[in-house]
């Protein structure tokens, strides 16, 4: 996988920069404008998560392929407080329970939009979100 760019994320402006790169890369790879919007929205969610809960981190965006398809690959990493209870490990049904906070909503939203989503988080050791959208 080639990471075309890594965006340091600390402020809301950085969220915009990250999604802009994601959109540009997706369009370049051949994604339609609507799909590029979906990718930008997902990047926006993971970047926002960094700004709101970890204060600083980075979002790396690149192209990848599995031999058959091209995809946009995103790795969002922070050294924030981490989470003891991973949304990725909770059943999707629970994720939709009423009263879900913004935090859960953001990462679950990103997971719903992408084809692959993986979340690694531990209290005190930060959070890493890895996600891919394949060009169909």
């Amino acid at each position: 996988m080639t990471h075309a760019i890594s965006v340091p994320v600390q402020t809301p402006t950085d969220i915009v920069t990250a999604r802009q790169h994601g959109r540009a890369l997706a369009s370049m790879a051949g994604f339609s404008s609507t799909e590029a919007t979906i990718i930008a929205a997902a990047i926006s969610e993971v970047a926002r998560n960094i700004v709101e809960y970890a204060t600083s981190g980075e979002v790396a965006i690149g192209l990848t392929d599995d031999g058959l398809r091209t995809g946009v690959h995103v790795v969002a990493r922070d050294q924030g407080p981490g989470m003891p209870d991973l949304p990725a490990r909770t059943p999707r049904l629970v994720a939709l329970a009423p009263g879900l906070d913004e935090f859960g909503m953001g990462l679950h939203g990103a997971r719903a939009l992408m084809d692959e989503f993986d979340l690694d988080s531990n209290p005190g050791r930060g959070t890493t979100v890895t996600m891919t959208k394949w060009l169909q």
Binding site: T17, R19, Q20, A41, P91, R92, G109, A112, D115, W134
Partner: protein
């Protein structure tokens, strides 16, 4: 803001979103960039959180856009419309998250259901084949033992064997309810007949079964139809005060229709429809059928019986393409 908006009416909610949406769309059209697109997503996220629907959101978009189009020079309109479309797509993205989330949850629910059926099948097998085998052996051993005992002992043993018979009957009944082997071995129609016989034993109902099927249906569909009929007949037996019921199932044009009708007391369908059919044991039916993209219709009238009809496509429309592609 979100809490206040949740409590507001649809009209009010629309107004809360319409104003900032108009401002942001105009800003985007004046100078389109990533910042204005991010603003669109933020508005969409707020709108979605307040419970606004996609169609309400789209209506807001159209109402906002109309005066802008009117005031836009003709030759600039194509660019302007393309930009406004991009803006709308951004606004819809958060709705898309919820929608896809629900769809994923539905797929998970389907898998969970399949897993539960599978477990029920295993438990039923253990009960039916293994437990009853041990019971049968116990019977034989006790019979042997009884031969060597004086008459008072024999009658004691006889009483114990009577208890064993009761256990066996319970165990067989439980195994059947959990998962009738008849469904796996012989298919849907014999399994439905079996349900009909059970209903007549349990509730004294006279149940007829008619089937118009040329082939075995996919296993998941057979299971759902079986469970739906089981649930419906249980309803009839417990609540309808009926003496007769008819079950029919047919496949036509890629759709399976299954109906359970009774001549019982019926109920006020309009009143129940408002309550989402909960409390009548129909929730389970609705959920199973929705799993396979099907629909449930209920025709009921006080004093004129009840008919429940489910309609399910043989090939469900929404397959989880993302996992299917992997």
């Amino acid at each position: 803001v979100i809490d206040a908006a949740r409590k507001a009416t649809v009209k009010d909610r629309g107004q809360i979103i319409a104003e900032p949406y108009g401002r942001a769309l105009r800003a985007h059209l004046a100078r389109p960039d990533e910042i204005t697109l991010q603003e669109a997503q933020d508005i969409g996220r707020r709108a979605s959180a307040t419970g606004l629907s996609v169609s309400e959101m789209t209506a807001i978009h159209c109402r906002t856009l109309l005066p802008i189009v009117d005031g836009c020079p003709r030759d600039e309109r194509p660019t302007m419309l393309a930009e406004s479309e991009r803006f709308l797509a951004e606004t819809i993205a958060p709705f898309e998250m919820s929608y896809r989330g629900v769809r994923d949850a539905n797929v998970s629910l389907g898998r969970l259901n399949a897993m539960l059926e599978d477990q029920a099948k295993q438990i039923a097998y253990v009960l039916h084949d293994e437990v009853t085998q041990i019971l049968a052996t116990s019977h034989l051993r006790l019979a042997e033992m009884a031969k060597r005992l004086p008459p008072p002992g024999q009658s004691e043993i006889g009483a114990v064997r009577g208890l064993l018979d009761q256990i066996e009957e319970r165990v067989r009944g439980l195994a059947r309810d959990l998962r009738p082997t008849i469904l796996d071995d012989l298919g849907l129609v014999p399994a439905l007949r079996f349900l009909a016989e059970n209903a007549s034993k349990r509730w004294g109902l006279s149940v007829s079964v008619a089937a118009f099927l040329d082939r075995r249906l996919p296993a998941i569909l057979e299971t759902v139809l079986y469970r739906v009929t089981q649930e419906a007949l249980t309803n009839v037996g417990r609540h309808a005060g009926a003496s007769q019921a008819q079950v029919w199932v047919m496949e036509k044009d890629g759709v399976v229709l299954c109906s359970v009708r009774d001549d019982g007391v019926g109920f006020d369908a309009a009143a129940v429809a408002g309550s989402g059919l909960r409390g009548l044991g129909l929730a389970g039916i609705e959920e199973r059928v929705a799993q396979l993209d099907g629909t449930v219709h209920i025709a009921a009238d006080r004093g004129r019986g009840t008919e429940i009809v489910v309609e399910i496509p043989v090939e469900p429309r929404h397959v989880d393409t993302r996992t299917a592609g992997r």
